[in-house]
């Protein structure tokens, strides 16, 4: 007993959870700060949150090429986790930057908002570094619970309430599936550690054919597929994205999704390797279904946030192609794609935030008619993001898609790649429609309410630079993704 405790303490290795620890500590401190702040003043909390994120970023860099395992192997801060952590941190940073002014405009200058984002991020990082289903579950829940609150943050707005509630109910529901899956896996293998599961399957190959094992594995995946909004578990996405505060929508589409991908990848590639043939078939179907559903429904959307929600579903579908490929290129491509998607999607949302009126009823296709003439710079920037979302060179979106489909093609999934590119051809239509409104229609309004504030501008600039940098000289980042992949 003595020895066991000793061992457990030795196994702790705080360095492995240091990034999320730092972030959580910052989050709690800031929660206190906001409690004692004057009501309505949030800016200082926002900037402090940025500081927190930057510090966390430096801390998590310590794990690069220096894997830290901790807590008896239930946490592993490796390159993979670090890369995803960075994505989440970037997403959180951009979210915070675009939030400050937005909260004031919408009449909710409540500074608890920022600590919540920090907690979400911490949860996301946990998910990325978890190697035990328990840790992953914890990370997932920390992330989710904070996000439920954030999605329903505008508590006087029915729309926001509805988004929060829908997210909450469906999220909790999917958690049930996830947990049941974990339980079944546990029942078969007697462990919740990912490598433990893999080792068990390796030792008992027959168990991979075990009904309970398969059911457990698949139910576990349902939980993650829900988070990444893969069809048919995507249906919450449009409603929640539309109803949630816009920065939160942006954040949800990037950070938590990336984290969910991280966990999904860790679980499938390491833990469920024995089910590879079944899972690739499953992902093949789901990837196609997801991108098709997302793209097709987006075609008839008028509300921009909702359209981007469907677009985000389809992008999840593209990213899943990397999982189907199940090779080094495809898997590292998911990392790269998530980073790219963070920049391009959050950039697009940042522009939308700038051009929205209070209540954001004007964020429809008709509402941005002639934007390109009245606000040329915003128009150009939004155009760049849209081109990136379409996957056109020389933007990051193109490299991302190229990278993902390279993996699939190298693994021999030509038809998947073909369906993928045909899907992006369909997607062109709704992205182009935005540009049609911006440039080909005469302005009906003068957009005089649009004022550029510094933090949002910074977030847009970062996104643009990211999109172009990753589009034109992506080499270094792809190298990193390669190192971070399995």
């Amino acid at each position: 007993m003595e020895n066991l405790v000793q061992e457990a303490i030795q196994n702790v290795n705080l360095q492995a959870i240091m990034p999320s620890l730092v972030l959580c500590v910052f989050g709690m401190v800031l929660l206190m700060v906001s409690v004692f702040s004057k009501r309505g003043s949030t800016t200082h909390v926002a900037w402090l949150s940025i500081v927190a994120l930057v510090v966390t970023g430096f801390v998590s860099l310590s794990g690069w090429n220096n894997p830290q395992a901790g807590f008896a192997g239930s946490v592993l801060l490796d390159n993979f986790a670090t890369f995803f952590s960075m994505i989440c941190l970037v997403a959180a940073g951009l979210t915070i930057l675009m939030s400050d002014d937005y909260l004031r405009r919408e009449g909710f200058p409540v500074s608890e908002y920022y600590p919540l984002i920090l907690f979400t991020t911490a949860g996301a990082m946990w998910m990325a570094s978890g190697t035990d289903l328990m840790t992953i579950f914890l990370g997932l829940e920390v992330l989710s619970v904070s996000l439920y609150v954030l999605a329903g943050f505008f508590r006087t707005q029915t729309r926001s309430n509805e988004a929060g509630l829908k997210y909450f109910f469906l999220g909790a529901f999917s958690t049930g599936f996830l947990l049941y899956g974990v339980a079944l896996l546990y029942a078969v293998t007697g462990t919740t550690k990912i490598d433990g599961i893999a080792a068990y399957v390796q030792a008992n190959p027959a168990s991979a054919m075990n009904t309970m094992f398969i059911a457990g594995g698949l139910l576990l995946l349902v939980g993650f597929l829900f988070k990444i909004a893969a069809a048919p578990f995507h249906m919450w996405t449009p409603d929640v994205y539309q109803g949630a505060p816009t920065p939160i929508t942006a954040f949800m589409s990037a950070g938590p999704k990336a984290a969910a991908f991280a966990a999904l990848m860790r679980v499938t590639i390491v833990g469920l390797e024995g089910l590879q043939s079944e899972l690739t078939a499953l992902f093949w179907v789901l990837a196609v279904l997801t991108m098709t559903v997302g793209n097709f429904i987006a075609l008839s959307q008028k509300d921009l946030k909702r359209m981007l929600a469907y677009s985000s579903i389809s992008h999840a579908g593209y990213a899943m192609v990397g999982l189907v490929a199940w090779n080094e290129i495809g898997l590292s491509a998911i990392l790269f794609y998530m980073l790219v998607y963070t920049f391009m999607n959050m950039g697009a949302f940042a522009v939308l935030i700038l051009i929205g009126k209070k209540g954001e009823d004007n964020l429809t296709l008709d509402g941005i008619a002639g934007l390109g003439y009245k606000k040329p710079i915003l128009g150009v920037v939004l155009t760049i993001f849209l081109f990136s979302l379409m996957g056109l060179p020389p933007t990051a979106g193109f490299i991302g898609k190229f990278y993902i489909f390279s993996g699939a093609i190298k693994a021999g999934y030509i038809w998947l790649a073909v369906l993928g590119v045909l899907n992006s051809a369909v997607s062109l239509y709704y992205y182009l429609r935005v540009m049609v409104q911006m440039y080909f229609k005469d302005p009906e309004e003068d957009f005089s309410w649009v004022t550029i504030n510094v933090p949002t501008a910074i977030s847009i600039i970062i996104s643009v630079v990211g999109v172009l940098y990753l589009g034109i000289v992506p080499g270094s980042v792809i190298q990193l993704a390669k190192l971070a992949g399995f």
């Binding site: 080094e328 290129i329 590292s332 003439y373 081109f387 056109l392 060179p393 020389p394 193109f398 190229f402 489909f405 390279s406 093609i409 190298k410 030509i414 790649a417 073909v418 590119v421 045909l422 992006s424 051809a425 062109l428 239509y429 182009l432 429609r433 540009m435 049609v436 440039y439 080909f440 000289v473 992506p474 080499g475 792809i478 190298q479 390669k482």
Partner: protein, 529 residues
């Protein structure tokens, strides 16, 4: 300078955009003048290419530039790999030549958001030049897609009534093809990687040497061919073209016709055919059939159009049918005919679009029935229109003839003989629709009072047309200027396509009129003075 010539040439317009952005947006003259200067300087930069005699002796790539761009070990490797040979040389020249002309043509035509327009034109030029000089498939693809964006805006913002439909259709239609090509590009790459062949990123020269199994070639050719066929456009993938042309502003139509469509045919010559030579024979009958259908179909449909611009657009379908037929005949004459016909089409159809633009600027309509008797009011215009019309018809002595004749000659010497017979009827039909429209627009009495006050061409407009007229005759009378630099490259290309550049057999005796040639490119090249 010479070491970086292609880069400088390609990116100079982009540099111009950067400066352009800081010019005052209200000063239209300054913006246009500046753009004109930029495009002229680009032309000047490209001029040394046209005078370089290295192309007459060697069919390989020249002005090479090579830098590693993205190198991810066993993942993939992309290089900044530029070069120009006799095949791309004249297309590059055509591009740099036509852009200043289009800039001039916008002088009075564009008054809305001039800065944006000029920026788009220059961006387009960079895209086009880049696509022509890229030797790396990946790089080519980037430039290829880059061209879509400015063209989309040119049509969508500065276009006519139905511009949105046309722009979106243009964009998506072309993108569908190119996305499939992207899949094929990636596939070729990984196939090469797995086969262990020596590679240089996506460098086509190394990929040419690849020995793909027939089955793979079949599908890959299909993907590449489909993409390029949309761009050409070949029947039945052409319907984006009339819409795009009709709605685009004059400058857009000119560039679209003169250069963008050439991307498709160039793509066949540079990529689809030499990369997949074994699949080529399977597809040639089919593609040649579509080319011939395109010629006849395009002509017949053009004949019945009531909108001049649409007529010219459909005539493009027919003209490019000749290009494709020539190229598919897989011999030197046919290829040369196809290549020169690309240039010709750029010049003649470009000129026709300018002409339609002149009419449109004056009357704001392009309906044939609105005109009639214009020749009495605009005699200079009538003369120029006449010359261009006959160039388009392919009158001997003008450029159109040399191209059509060689293309047909090549086809007659290949297995496409019967296709060629039907294609030759296009010669008749071209005369029918062009002369008919000329008659209805220019001849007769002025019956529409709105035509009473038409002004003849201004000095600027004449200056726009003169260089085009010059080349109409130059190519018609001294095409060797162009052929001498194309021949060596075409011979190499044909060998790469698995065809014997000498179409039929060796000359029986050295006494024959033509100097004796052997099949090897080296000695062939020497034969050219």
């Amino acid at each position: 300078m010479a070491d970086y010539l292609l880069s400088i040439m390609t990116f100079f317009p982009l540099l111009g955009i950067l400066v352009l952005l800081f010019l005052p947006r209200d000063n239209g003259g300054l913006l246009k003048g500046f753009t004109l200067a930029v495009s002229l300087i680009t032309f000047a930069i490209s001029l040394p290419l046209a005078f370089d005699n290295v192309f007459t002796t060697s069919g390989g790539m020249h002005y090479r530039e090579f830098y590693q761009w993205i190198n991810i070990g066993d993942f993939f490797q992309m290089n900044y790999n530029l070069g120009v040979d006799g095949i791309s040389l004249w297309l590059v020249m055509l591009t740099t030549f036509i852009v200043p002309i289009t800039v001039l043509s916008t002088w009075n035509a564009v008054d809305k958001n001039i800065k944006g327009f000029m920026a788009m034109l220059l961006l387009l030029e960079t895209g086009m030049l880049g696509a022509f000089v890229s030797l790396d498939l990946f790089l080519f693809y980037i430039f290829w897609e880059l061209m879509l964006i400015p063209m989309y805006f040119l049509i969508g913002i500065w276009g006519g009534q139905n511009r949105i439909y046309a722009a979106v259709k243009f964009f998506i239609y072309t993108a569908v093809g190119s996305l499939l090509m992207l899949v094929a590009i990636i596939f070729v790459y990984y196939f090469a990687v797995q086969s262990g062949a020596p590679m240089n990123g996506f460098g086509i020269q190394e990929l040419y040497k690849l020995d793909l199994p027939y089955n793979a070639q079949f599908w890959l050719f299909l993907a590449f061919g489909f993409s390029f066929a949309i761009k050409v456009p070949m029947f039945p993938l052409h319907t984006w073209l009339p819409d795009a042309h009709t709605e685009a502003p004059t400058a857009g139509s000119v560039i679209l016709a003169a250069v963008l469509l050439k991307m498709g045919t160039y793509g066949y010559v540079r990529f689809a055919m030499p990369l997949f030579p074994e699949a080529l024979p399977t597809f040639i009958p089919f593609l040649a059939f579509l080319s011939v259908v395109g010629i006849i179909y395009g002509s017949l449909v053009a004949m019945m159009q009531d909108d001049i611009k649409k007529l010219v657009a459909y005539s493009s379908v027919a003209h490019l049918g000749f290009v494709m037929l020539g190229v598919f005949s897989l011999n030197l004459q046919g290829l040369a005919g196809g290549m020169i016909q690309m240039i010709n089409h750029g010049i003649s159809t470009g000129a026709l679009f300018l002409i339609v633009g002149f009419l449109y600027e004056r009357r704001h309509t392009r309906l044939i029935t609105e005109f009639g008797g214009v020749a009495t009011k605009m005699p200079i215009f009538a003369t120029i229109f006449m010359i261009v019309t006959f160039s388009s018809i392919g009158l001997p002595g003008t450029n159109g003839f040399v191209g059509e004749f060689l293309a047909l000659m090549g086809a007659f010497q290949s297995s496409l003989r019967w296709y060629a017979v039907f294609a030759t009827t296009g010669v008749i039909l071209a005369a029918v629709y062009m002369l008919w429209v000329y008659q209805r627009v220019m001849f007769g009495k002025v019956t529409n009072p709105k035509n009473e006050n038409l002004k003849d061409l201004s000095v600027r407009e004449i200056i726009i047309m003169l260089p085009l007229l010059l080349f109409i005759f130059w190519i018609g009378i001294f095409p060797n200027t162009f052929f001498s630099k194309m021949n060596p490259a075409m011979e190499q290309m044909l060998i790469q396509m698995g065809a014997n550049p000498v179409a039929v057999v060796e000359p029986a005796t050295s006494e024959t009129h033509a100097p004796a040639h052997s099949a090897t490119p080296a000695t062939q090249a020497d034969g050219h003075k």
